[in-house]
């Protein structure tokens, strides 16, 4: 066969430009191994084509390169995870190192935070306990004050009623003085209208245990029980109703009172 005629037919150009049919391509590939001229013609046209393309190159927009390289990276990441070993190992040295230091930092920071927090908690708990004690003390103090206040309040009310009785013109005031020349004193308020009797202890010794003061009304020379002075009575106390009397007296009797007064224990006495 005339290989030069074959080469000159344009089949080589068709082949290089992929314009040959499958059969034609098989034929060219067969001849290129058999004839150096065919191989040379392929190389010649390919080079000419390449050179022409280079001479007529159109520079693409510069920003395209970054896009293309990014697309390659993406394509590489998808299909070939194993081929990318070299840069990965490089990274794998860096990343864990960062991680360990940061973990160590975090661990150290958390331990410090824990200690600080524990100390703060202890301090605050102590403070809380102290404050609680203070509060308890204040609370009991307040209660004491309140109780005292209540006492004063009651006393004040009693004194107020005593003052009212003293001011009351319908009320007879009988001052009782010590029968033994001491400064013991008590006062009886006797309502002339309804004959109610009140007694006010001005000064009497504290009674012994098991003893109580008792008020007597002297009616026609005979002592009549007018009631027992309650221990809780600190100012004016209401006694029994006495319709008629010439004098009043207070004796110290056994607890609960007696029917007949113990005149040896007469403390104060006063005439109406």
């Amino acid at each position: 066969m005339d290989i030069h005629a074959y080469i000159e037919s344009g089949i080589i150009e068709s082949y290089v430009l992929s314009l040959t049919s499958t059969e034609e391509s098989v034929e060219v590939e067969k001849f290129r191994t058999e004839y150096v001229e065919v191989e040379a013609a392929i190389a010649e046209f390919s080079q000419a084509l390449e050179q022409h393309a280079f001479e007529n190159a159109i520079i693409p927009p510069p920003e395209l390169k970054a896009k293309v390289l990014a697309a390659i990276k993406e394509a590489r990441g998808v299909e070939e995870p194993t081929t990318a070993m070299a840069p990965q190992t490089e990274k794998s040295f860096v990343v864990p190192l960062h991680q360990t230091t940061s973990w160590r930092m975090i661990a150290a920071a958390s331990v410090i935070l824990f200690i600080v927090s524990a100390a703060a908690n202890f301090y605050l708990y102590q403070q809380y306990r102290n404050k609680e004690d203070d509060y308890e003390a204040l609370l009991s103090q307040r209660e004491t004050l309140q109780a005292k206040n209540d006492v004063y309040h009651t006393q004040l009310k009693e004194w107020q009623s005593a003052a009212a009785m003293m001011a009351d013109t319908g009320m007879a005031m009988i001052k009782m003085a010590s029968a033994k020349g001491k400064d013991d004193a008590a006062t009886v308020f006797w309502d002339k209208r309804n004959k109610d009797v009140f007694v006010m202890v001005n000064k009497l010794p504290e009674p012994q245990v098991g003893k109580q003061y008792q008020l007597w009304a002297m009616v026609d020379g005979q002592p009549v029980d007018a009631g027992i002075l309650d221990l809780s009575c600190t100012s004016v106390c209401k006694m029994k109703n006495v319709p008629r009397a010439q004098a009043f007296a207070i004796t110290l009797e056994r607890e609960g009172g007696n029917k007949i007064p113990n005149l040896k224990a007469l403390f104060v006495i006063g005439n109406v």
């Binding site: 390449e50 007529n56 395209l64 697309a71 390659i72 394509a75």
Partner: protein, 180 residues
């Protein structure tokens, strides 16, 4: 073409097959201009051409393992990747519809020349444009539009044998022009 050749072609191919990114970087720097001219000689729309250049390089990266340097030069292989991708894009339904819309709007607005390129003045097409009409149409339809010779024979109502011989003659003329 030997401007700033840092790699021997076989060396470059071997590095690409081993997935060296430096080699790919070099490949882009070295071949993007010539491949871009191949794309824009087929695809007049610049935006699409830009997308295609990216697509072509991704294809090259993915398919480099199938390239056999016994069969031909790297550029020839890449040229055909770029040409096929461009023809596929132009032939796609989407592109055809866009073209129709464009033709409609072009009647109303004068479309700026910055987006649409005149493909007749680019690369090989510039040479083909100067060929005799009967030759030019065959190269246009086969090389730039991707029709088979059988299809062209039916389209132009010319016998297949005539299509074949005329196309080959056209390519011989083309070769005479580009021959250094």
């Amino acid at each position: 073409m030997n401007t700033g050749n840092l790699y021997h072609e076989s060396e470059l191919v071997s590095l690409l097959k081993q997935r060296h990114e430096h080699a790919f970087n070099y490949l882009y720097d070295h071949y993007s201009g010539s491949l871009y001219s191949v794309i824009v000689s087929i695809v007049p729309n610049r935006e699409l051409a830009n997308d295609l250049l990216q697509e072509v390089f991704v294809k090259i990266w993915r398919q480099i393992a199938t390239y056999d340097n016994e069969k031909g030069r790297l550029f020839t292989w890449m040229l055909n990747v770029a040409r096929n991708a461009s023809i596929d894009a132009v032939r796609s339904k989407n592109y055809q519809q866009n073209q129709q819309n464009r033709e409609l709007t072009e009647n109303i607005y004068e479309e700026g020349g910055s987006v649409q390129m005149n493909t007749d003045k680019i690369g090989l097409r510039k040479i083909v444009y100067k060929l005799k009409d009967e030759y030019r149409v065959l190269v246009e339809l086969s090389y730039f539009e991707g029709y088979t010779q059988d299809e062209i024979s039916k389209m132009l109502k010319i016998p297949l044998g005539t299509v074949k011989t005329r196309l080959r003659s056209a390519l011989i003329q083309l070769k005479q022009v580009i021959k250094p």
